[in-house]
């Protein structure tokens, strides 16, 4: 967890998910499964032991028919910058064996499967339930092992895993850029599998620090919000919604509180 302050070109890769565009189709989940060698079991209906690096939640406004509204909410790992925005994410700081780390070059929170010994402290620390435990050994029936990607190592039983923002794609893109003697990656050179898989283009991915990237502008929209901002986890996944109730559902508010004002206060504070 050594912080490097001298990183001139430090990136903060992040995501903006337009909930008004998300149809809940699940392509992001499936795209992620196949990109990241996510295993599957015969029964995946217990969502609390089902490995999903990005999970689409279905939320409703709670109003009775016919005023009911539904919103789908895809949740990858939020890649929190943590309190004070310097990498003190809830999970990284608690891992006893440095099996998860904050990369100051990209802002991505890594997970080292061969280092993790499965204490699950990081899972207890993560309010987003982004971290999943391998309760079972993964099994790929018939010839399914043949579709596994060599870019992501399959995990073994007993370790925690989570969304990596497809870090292997970053590495491949960076290697290519290096080979071509370029310093900077182009915006479209490094995209996550879910962003690419989203058939409605609801997921935008890029460097939140880079003014030329789409996410930079999108995150400043008045309709943008992050999940559980009040916990000061500083997630790098932003959401857009033109529905007030959706924006309110993204965090906890006391009855009298107005999300926009609270958000302002929280963001001023740090």
């Amino acid at each position: 967890m050594k912080e490097k302050n001298n990183h001139k070109h430090a990136k903060r890769y992040g995501m903006v998910i337009d909930l008004d565009k998300c149809t809940g189709c699940g392509s992001c989940m499936v795209g992620c499964y196949s990109e990241n060698n996510v295993p599957f079991k015969t029964d995946e209906t217990n969502k609390l032991d089902s490995i999903n690096w990005i999970q689409v939640y279905k939320i409703t406004n709670g109003k009775p028919f016919p005023n009911t509204e539904v919103c789908y909410l895809p949740m990858p790992c939020m890649q929190c910058d943590g309190v004070g925005k310097h990498g003190h994410s809830p999970c990284v700081s608690v891992c006893p064996a440095v099996a998860t780390d904050y990369d100051y070059e990209t802002g991505i929170v890594s997970q080292i499967y061969t280092r993790c010994f499965g204490c699950r402290y990081c899972m207890a620390a993560c309010p987003y339930h982004a971290r999943k435990f391998n309760w079972w050994d993964p099994v790929w029936p018939a010839d399914m092992e043949k579709y596994l990607s060599p870019n992501v190592s399959p995990r073994m039983r007993g370790v925690v895993e989570k969304c990596s923002f497809c870090f292997h794609r970053y590495q491949l893109a960076r290697d290519k850029a290096y080979y071509e003697k370029r310093e900077e990656l182009k915006e479209n050179e490094y995209q996550t599998a879910c962003a690419e898989a989203c058939p409605t283009g609801a997921i935008t991915f890029g460097d939140l620090n880079n003014k030329s990237h789409a996410v930079y502008k999108l995150k400043n929209s008045p309709n943008a919000f992050r999940l559980l901002e009040r916990l000061k986890t500083n997630p790098k996944v932003y959401y857009l919604s033109n529905k007030r109730w959706v924006r309110r559902a993204g965090d906890n508010y006391l009855a009298h509180e107005e999300p926009a004002k609270i958000k302002q206060k929280v963001n001023q504070h740090h």
Binding site: M156, V160, Y253
Partner: protein
């Protein structure tokens, strides 16, 4: 009665067959736990009912609870060797044994509780010094070593072993420098009890557990250390009392118990005041700052506000008040009621700090998470109890655990 050379001189012990029967029963329970343990190691944590929302569950609670109630060992050491309450020497052996049992079990449970037990040592080798769990693991192992060192001289006092000159001297010499070990133990205990408090307190993504400013450090740390020091002695008293009931003889003089109970009472009172301050600040400042009201945290049928009342009033102020009053202490019914309540109180606190933390929904659109342990989890949690019974039985039968036993139970 036939004297066996293994049994200390001048004390009376039950017959071999009685003892064997007792041990067989305890061993059967132990075997059940061991079977479950092997099953878990062999097949993995899918044998439990834990899940991604409930990554910390019964075991971590058991861990935290037995470390808290095992706190009698370090605190009696602290009182005996550092403060100089020499009377407590009459109970410290037993406190050490209980501590030894608790800590060995805590380590065992940690070894079961991890997904990759064969890599468990990474916690030491690849230590992240910022993690509370690292601190816990280090201090726990070191303090367990200290407890073992404290236990060894007692084992060596077994009449048979004591005949070996080297062992006799070793016992003697270790006794001689016990204050150093005890001091180290106290030092380590302050740290790991404290960091256990921090385990939940630093979870700033978990509004139920998280505390702010001084309420995280030193407060959460202090609360755990203090509560362990306060309630650990109660557990020592409780186990002594149970042992006395089972062996049907007085083993420790009432004055010693009274002293221990009185100190414990004051510790409980001070602890529970600190805890109340913490709760009030959390309920009225910290939680609303994150958009929660106190009642949001107690909105489930299982986790209702009664829990908070039970923890602070019923199992906090009440035992504390009983124990600090002379009349309360001297009434054996009230004394034992207080002692039991205090033990329940600290276990409840650890339960809340682990299981309720996991149960409370953090998202406005999520429901409470529920969890019910599998039999494998229960069996491995019962295992320490059987193991404790076995160790205490063996220690009591073959070692001079209670210095006052001979005096209190003269053999004519």
């Amino acid at each position: 009665m036939k004297e066996t050379p293994l049994i200390p001189a001048g004390v009376k012990r039950c017959s071999t067959w009685q003892f064997s029967l007792w041990m067989t029963a305890a061993t059967a329970v132990l075997a059940w736990g061991v079977y479950a343990m092997i099953l878990i190691w062999w097949k993995g944590l899918n044998q439990t009912n834990m899940n991604d929302a409930y990554g910390f569950a019964l075991w971590i609670w058991a861990d935290l609870a037995i470390i808290a109630i095992g706190g009698g060992a370090f605190f009696s050491g602290f009182l005996t060797y550092i403060i100089g309450k020499k009377e407590l020497k009459n109970i410290i052996n037993f406190a050490v044994i209980i501590g030894f049992i608790c800590y060995s079990c805590a380590l065992l449970i940690l070894a079961i509780d991890i997904g990759q037990p064969l890599r468990g040592w990474f916690i030491f080798w690849h230590a992240n010094v910022h993690s509370m769990l690292t601190e816990v693991a280090f201090c726990l192992s070191c303090y367990f070593a200290v407890l073992t060192i404290e236990f060894i001289p007692l084992i060596l006092e077994n009449p048979k072993l004591n005949k070996k000159p080297f062992l006799h001297h070793l016992s003697h010499n270790m006794h001689g420098i016990m204050a150093i070990f005890a001091a180290t133990g106290v030092f380590l205990s302050f740290f790991h009890q404290g960091s256990l408090g921090g385990v939940a307190g630093v979870l700033y993504g978990r509004p139920f557990a998280f505390r702010e400013h001084i309420f995280i450090w030193p407060w959460t740390f202090f609360l755990f250390t203090w509560s362990a020091a306060a309630c650990g002695p109660c557990f020592t008293i409780l186990v002594t009392w149970i042992t006395e009931k089972i062996t049907r003889k007085k083993l420790v003089k009432q004055s010693v118990i009274q002293l221990f109970a009185k100190i414990s009472g004051w510790m409980i009172i001070t602890y529970i005041i600190a805890k109340t301050i913490d709760t009030v600040y959390w309920a009225f400042v910290t939680a609303p700052g994150m958009g929660f009201t106190l009642m949001d945290f107690y909105a489930s049928p299982t986790y209702n506000i009664g829990i908070l009342f039970a923890e602070i009033v019923l199992c906090g102020f009440i035992p504390g008040l009983i124990l600090i009053t002379k009349r309360g202490r001297e009434n054996s019914f009230l004394l034992m009621t207080a002692v039991i309540l205090a033990v329940i109180g600290v276990c409840l606190n650890r339960w809340v700090m682990v299981l309720q933390v996991m149960a409370v929904p953090v998202f406005s659109f999520n429901d409470w998470y529920t969890y019910w342990p599998s039999w494998q989890e229960v069996a491995t949690t019962v295992l320490p109890v059987a193991y404790g019974i076995i160790v205490i039985s063996l220690a009591h039968r073959y070692l001079p655990v209670f210095p006052q036993e001979k005096e209190l139970n003269p053999i004519d």
